[in-house]
C-alpha cells in the first residue's frame, strides 16, 4: 500500500467512523474527534488536544460497552492525536482483529514509532534514527509518518550541527531531499513545509525558508509550539531578507509580507497576535 492509499484508508476510516453506528459514547467520540480536527485546522491546538481527550474517553467507553472495529479505530485515532503511540498500536491491533483491514499496518507503524522514541530516550540515537527514516518513507498512516519525519529532521539537524562545514552541507542537502520526498507525497502538509523551512534555514537559504514557513502557516501546523516557532522563523527570515535588499525591492517585499501578516491578524510585520504586548 502506498502512502497515498494509506491516506485514503485513513480518510475512509474516518468517514466510516462518522457514518457507522449511533450508540451514545461512540457518537460522542465521533463528535469530539471531529471537533479536534476542526480545532487543529484553526491552529487551536489546546482545544484540539482537549477534544481529542474527550473523544478518547468516549471511545474507551464505547469499546467497553460494545467492542467494535470502529470504537477501537476511533480510540486509536484519538491516541495518535495525543501522541500515545503504544496505546494507539494496541487499539489499531484490536480494530484489525475486529475487521478494520488497515489496522494491522497502522498498529505496526505506531509500535515502531513508540519503540524508536524509547531507543532515543535510552541514548540509542542511531537505532532510533533508522526507525524514523524507515517510518518517514514507508509508514502507511499519515500522522505517524509526520511524527517520524519531525524526529528524523530533529536528529539530522542535531547531527549536522556537530559536523565540519563540508560534511554539514552534505548532511543538510540529504535532509532537504528527505523532506522533499515527504512533500512529493503530501504537498498539503503544513508540517512538512515547516520542516523544510527549518532545514533551508540551516543552509542559509532564507528566501526558501521564508516561503516554506509562510506555506506552513497557510496549510496548518500540528501544535501551538510549532505554530509559534514557525512564526518566529518567519520574522527571522523577514528581517534577514530585508537587510540584504535594496530599497525598492525592500518596499515590494514589505508589501507582500504585510499582505500575509494582515491575513494572519498580526499586530505588525514582526508581531504575531500571540506575542505579549
Amino acid at each position: 500500500m502506498t502512502a497515498r492509499s494509506g491516506r485514503s484508508a485513513f480518510g475512509l476510516a474516518l468517514a466510516l467512523a462518522v457514518l457507522w453506528g449511533c450508540a451514545s459514547p461512540l457518537k460522542e467520540a465521533k463528535l469530539h474527534f471531529s471537533r479536534a480536527q476542526e480545532h487543529d485546522r484553526r491552529y487551536e491546538s489546546g482545544q484540539a488536544v482537549a477534544a481529542a481527550k474527550r473523544a478518547l474517553l468516549e471511545a474507551e467507553a464505547a469499546a467497553r460497552k460494545d467492542p467494535s472495529a470502529q470504537a477501537y479505530t476511533l480510540k486509536g485515532l484519538a491516541e495518535v492525536r495525543l501522541e500515545r503511540w503504544p496505546d494507539a498500536a494496541e487499539s489499531f491491533r484490536l480494530a484489525f482483529t475486529l475487521g478494520f483491514a488497515s489496522g494491522e499496518q497502522w498498529a505496526a507503524d505506531a509500535a515502531l514509532l513508540g519503540a524508536a522514541l524509547a531507543f532515543e530516550a535510552s541514548g540509542l540515537p542511531e537505532s532510533a534514527g533508522r526507525a524514523y527514516a524507515h517510518l518517514m518513507g514507508r509508514a502507511k498512516f499519515g500522522p505517524i509518518r509526520r511524527a517520524a519525519a519531525g524526529k528524523h529532521v530533529d536528529l539530522g539537524l542535531a547531527r549536522a550541527l556537530a559536523l565540519n562545514e563540508k560534511d554539514r552541507d552534505r548532511a543538510l542537502a540529504g535532509l532537504a531531499k528527505d523532506v522533499g520526498r515527504l512533500l512529493d507525497d503530501d504537498f498539503a502538509s503544513g508540517f512538512a513545509h515547516y520542516l523544510l523551512s527549518q532545514v533551508l534555514s540551516h543552509r542559509a537559504d532564507l528566501r526558501g525558508s521564508y516561503e516554506e514557513a509562510v506555506m506552513a502557516r497557510e496549510l496548518g501546523l500540528p501544535s501551538e509550539k510549532i505554530l509559534r516557532d514557525n512564526d518566529n522563523q518567519i520574522v527571522f527570515c523577514r528581517d534577514r531578507i530585508r537587510d540584504a535588499l535594496p530599497q525598492d525591492e525592500k518596499d515590494r517585499f514589505d508589501a507582500v509580507h504585510e499582505a500575509w501578516t494582515k491575513r494572519w491578524g498580526w499586530r505588525d510585520a514582526r508581531t504575531p497576535a500571540w506575542k505579549k504586548e
Partner: protein, 197 residues
C-alpha cells in the same frame, strides 16, 4: 464585572490551591496565571494547558536552531541585546547557544506557566539568573506538581475556579492587571509570593 469579586475569588482560590501543593508554594503563581490565561480564552481544560508547559522544555525544539537564528533572537530582543551585548558583539555563539534553551521557550515562545515561574526574575530583568536556575527550577516545578497532578480533585478545582473567574468578567481586565491581582491574593494568603523563585 466587579474587581472586588475577582479579588475575593482569587484569595479563596489561593487558599484552596495552597492546600493541594503545600510543599511547593512557588507554584501558586504559575498555576494561577495559567488558569487565568486560559479562563480569559474560555478554555477550561486546565490539565492539558497547565501540563503543556513541560512540552516547551523539550530540548529538541531548541537545540537544532542555526547559529544565525540564535544570534537574531538575542539581538532583536531589547533586554537580551543589552544583557548579552558582550556575547553578541564577540559573536560568542557557544555562550548564546548555552542560554538559548532557557530563554527561547520563555521569551521566544512565551509559555504562560514558565513566565509565571520566572515572573520575579523577568520583572527584575535577572535574565542570567533565569539561565543559571532554569534546569533546577523547572525540575523542582515538575516535582512540586506531581502530588497534585495525580489528584482528580485538583483539576476539578481548577476547572470550577477558572469558570468562576470567567463568569466574574476576568476577560475584561488587562493581562498585567490580572497578574497583579493574583500576586496580591498570594501575598494576602501566602507570603512571600515567590518563595523558591
Amino acid at each position: 464585572m466587579s474587581r472586588k469579586d475577582i479579588e475575593q475569588a482569587l484569595v479563596r482560590g489561593v487558599e484552596t490551591l495552597a492546600a493541594f501543593i503545600p510543599s511547593a508554594p512557588f507554584l501558586l503563581f504559575p498555576v494561577l496565571s495559567s488558569v487565568c490565561v486560559w479562563s480569559v480564552r474560555r478554555v477550561f481544560n486546565y490539565r492539558d494547558h497547565i501540563l503543556t508547559w513541560k512540552v516547551w522544555l523539550d530540548p529538541e525544539a531548541v537545540r537544532t536552531k542555526p547559529d544565525d537564528f540564535i544570534l537574531h533572537f538575542f539581538a532583536k530582543n531589547p533586554d537580551l541585546s543589552r544583557i548579552y551585548a558582550r556575547e553578541i558583539e564577540a559573536g560568542d555563539i557557544k555562550g548564546l547557544r548555552a542560554a538559548f534553551p532557557a530563554l527561547y521557550p520563555l521569551l521566544g515562545l512565551e509559555d504562560a506557566f514558565l513566565r509565571g515561574l520566572f515572573r520575579g526574575e523577568l520583572a527584575a530583568g535577572a535574565v542570567r539568573k533565569i539561565v543559571a536556575e532554569f534546569e533546577a527550577r523547572t525540575a523542582a516545578a515538575v516535582e512540586g506538581l506531581k502530588p497534585a497532578e495525580a489528584d482528580p480533585a485538583f483539576w476539578r478545582f481548577l476547572e470550577t475556579f477558572g469558570m468562576e473567574l470567567a463568569s466574574l468578567g476576568l476577560h475584561l481586565l488587562k493581562d498585567d492587571d490580572i497578574l497583579d491581582l493574583i500576586l496580591a491574593a498570594i501575598r494576602e494568603e501566602h507570603s512571600p509570593p515567590e518563595r523558591g523563585a
